[in-house]
């Protein structure tokens, strides 16, 4: 009888401890989520805390996390968020502020090793409010191009302006390859592709009174150039996402694109790439204004409905430490710390030769507008951009309609 009581107690303790210390994290499919999963195994081995993962395609991460937040289910303790989602989660009260947890550690906030632009997105309001997340994956767009193909087309130095780059793309396309591959699937993909072009032609989404201005003369010029990129791209751009554009580069069929740095790992992997060592990773070329990358960090936030907030914070704090970000970078995820970007053990490897350009891209990047309705704004804008790319709507009609729709959402 005593033995049974003893075993019952032990089993209860095991059950209770596993219940209390198990944390659930929702992450996207692909490198960002895989990297964190790998880190979590080390964390469990180190601390005994179980970290469970729910992994889903990009859009479904938002859908599931937002659903859990709105219903206050507490299904996920941690959300690995794309940075434009942060205002939605933060301003609607779905993220726990991290200040009290840093206070308990006796520090003001994350250490100064994080890049300034990386930290700015994790404060709500942007760059000024309390911390609501910690950056984990340092995505910022770069211009990827095949060095030899562009040199042959007359572009020897780094691509400085869109006119000279486009002239080279046309020559490449005339010779049988595709000068560029455009990612223009409606919604997030086409908007992410369009924004650096839009900014390099001095476009602004809103004026100071929050009126939409996507159909400004600058916006028209940007879209007209965007369509020039479509014309040197493979057909079907209007439904291409990263997978398709990445494949065109990997196969060597297209010679340039704007993409996220986590693709560098694929391009430099001989088992899946025909272009190992052939690509150069550069800053976004300029138009009428200086080129600027779109920042697209993935950041770790604690759900306000989580019942394990302290355990969630402990994991985030550990996963974003210098040592772990170094390991994460080695696994292929772009870093967010200065020390990692300048770590000679990494920068001496050919596959990390883009680190200086990427750090520069982050430092001079532009965030997407910090608006809680950004997912809706992006979807609506993306539909009209995609229609212009598909040729079912003229550029002017697409931008005029997009502007009107964006204004309706903003009012």
């Amino acid at each position: 009888m005593k033995l049974i009581k003893f075993l019952s107690c032990v089993l209860s303790l095991v059950f209770i401890s596993s219940y209390v210390y198990a944390i659930t994290v929702i992450v996207p499919n692909g490198g960002e989520g895989d990297g964190l999963r790998a880190a979590a195994k080390d964390y469990t081995a180190l601390t005994g805390v179980e970290v469970e993962f729910v992994q889903a395609p990009y859009e479904q991460v938002f859908d599931k996390a937002a659903n859990a937040a709105n219903t206050k289910s507490g299904s996920y303790d941690i959300v690995l968020m794309d940075d434009p989602w942060i205002p939605f989660f933060a301003e609607n009260g779905h993220l726990a502020e991290m200040g009290p947890y840093f206070d308990a550690l006796g520090v003001d906030g994350p250490d100064n090793d994080f890049l300034g632009k990386s930290m700015a997105i994790c404060r709500n309001p942007y760059n000024s409010g309390p911390y609501v997340c910690i950056p984990y994956v340092g995505n910022a767009q770069m211009f990827f191009y095949n060095t030899a193909a562009f040199a042959e087309a007359g572009l020897d130095g780094p691509p400085a302006d869109w006119d000279s780059v486009h002239a080279a793309m046309q020559k490449i396309s005339a010779s049988g390859s595709f000068g560029y591959v455009l990612r223009a699937q409606e919604g997030n993909p086409v908007v992410a592709q369009y924004m650096p072009i839009f900014w390099s032609f001095c476009g602004k989404l809103f004026d100071e009174n929050r009126n939409a201005t996507v159909n400004s003369p600058e916006g028209m010029k940007a879209l007209e150039f965007f369509l020039k990129l479509r014309d040197v791209s493979p057909p079907g751009a209007a439904s291409m996402n990263q997978e398709e554009t990445g494949q065109y580069i990997l196969q060597g069929m297209a010679k340039s694109t704007i993409n996220w740095p986590n693709w560098v790992t694929n391009f430099e992997d001989p088992s899946q790439s025909n272009v190992v060592g052939e690509m150069t990773y550069a800053a976004i070329p300029s138009g009428d204004c200086a080129g600027s990358s779109e920042i697209g960090h993935w950041a770790l936030g604690i759900a306000s409905a989580s019942k394990n907030q302290q355990a969630a914070f402990d994991f985030i704090h550990w996963a974003s430490s210098k040592e772990q970000i170094d390991i994460s970078a080695g696994r292929g995820n772009p870093p967010v710390r200065f020390s990692t970007f300048t770590n000679p053990e990494l920068t001496s490897q050919a596959k990390f030769r883009h680190f200086p350009v990427l750090m520069e891209a982050i430092n001079y990047s532009t965030p997407r507008p910090r608006h809680p309705k950004w997912p809706e704004l992006e979807q609506v804008f993306g539909v009209y951009l995609s229609k212009a790319v598909a040729g079912v709507m003229s550029p002017k009609e697409a931008l005029d309609k997009a502007n009107a729709e964006l204004d309706k959402i903003l009012k």
Binding site: A66, E186, A238, S386
Partner: protein, 291 residues
């Protein structure tokens, strides 16, 4: 015992009250809840209450272009897909009934697509349509041709989705028609043959007329199902390219779970319910006339 029941003529009604209440809770409550939300502007912010906006969400049904586009796409899909499925299903059923009735393996093979879960069908076709990895496009590329962008081309995306639906649901119509044909009386055909009726006349004047109740039920089920198309769009195209495959169900999903505009999504859902209900009532009316 009998006298106890007959003593209170309402007792039998009392006894089924719990079942009725449960049924109402399960069926009517969600609809009433959706109706309630359709009068509000839903707030995702935990500190901001939902705002009552009266009939605004219903007025939006008349002016929202994205909704009109989704409705147009849904109607186009439903009409084209169900028409082709019906023609093929009936044709196969007549063929099997008249010529290869004994070959049961053919019937089984024809039914396989219907047995697969719609989401699994969509995932399978996603690979079959893929620009790089599908066997067909792989062959095209080996031959030096550009891959065919089944789900990426504005002109091909909707036909590609319709084709998948035809592949999956023609067997259902085939099965229903086959059951209908098998239950037809023999005598009118024998009489028609004695009178010298041609095969076409027998089909037009006998088979078609006798099959009417089965056809009505089959079309009702298929139209209701096609009108709610979601799985294939979600997996294959996400409503693109350029919104040409954005159907009502998928549009409502986006509005509800990506934009968190629950009130507007509720109004669209109620519109969908009203349409399917109207179609059902019309078909059931036709069925009663046929009887």
């Amino acid at each position: 015992m009998f006298s106890v029941f007959s003593a209170d003529k309402y007792l039998r009604f009392y006894l089924i009250i719990p079942a009725i209440v449960l049924l109402l809770l399960l069926t009517l409550f969600p609809i009433v809840y959706i109706l309630y939300f359709s009068f509000f502007e839903y707030s995702s912010n935990v500190d901001v209450p939902h705002q009552f906006i009266g009939l605004e969400n219903f007025k939006r049904l008349f002016v929202d272009e994205a909704f009109h586009n989704a409705l147009k796409n849904t109607i186009f899909f439903t009409v084209v897909a169900v028409s082709i499925e019906f023609a093929l299903g009936l044709g196969f059923a007549l063929l099997v009934m008249n010529f290869i009735e004994k070959v049961s393996i053919i019937k089984t093979i024809l039914l396989i697509p219907m047995m697969i879960a719609p989401i699994a069908v969509a995932i399978t076709w996603k690979f079959l349509y893929a620009p790089f990895v599908s066997p067909f496009n792989h062959l095209m590329m080996k031959l030096g041709q550009a891959p065919i962008l089944f789900t990426s081309d504005v002109k091909l995306a909707m036909p590609s989705i319709i084709f998948v639906d035809i592949w999956q649901w023609t067997p259902f119509i085939f099965l229903m028609m086959l059951a209908g044909l098998a239950s037809l009386p023999k005598e009118p055909y024998e009489a028609a043959q004695i009178d010298g009726a041609s095969a076409w006349q027998q089909f037009r004047d006998l088979t078609w007329k006798f099959l009417q109740p089965v056809i009505i039920i089959t079309l009702l089920l298929r139209i209701m199902d096609a009108f709610r198309l979601f799985d294939q769009v979600f997996i294959l195209t996400r409503g693109g390219p350029a919104s040409v495959t954005d159907t009502l169900s998928f549009h409502i999903y986006k509005v509800a779970f990506r934009f968190w505009d629950i009130g507007w999504a509720a109004a669209m859902s109620l519109f969908m319910l009203a349409v399917t209900l109207t179609i059902s009532i019309w078909f059931v009316g036709k069925l009663n006339v046929e009887k």
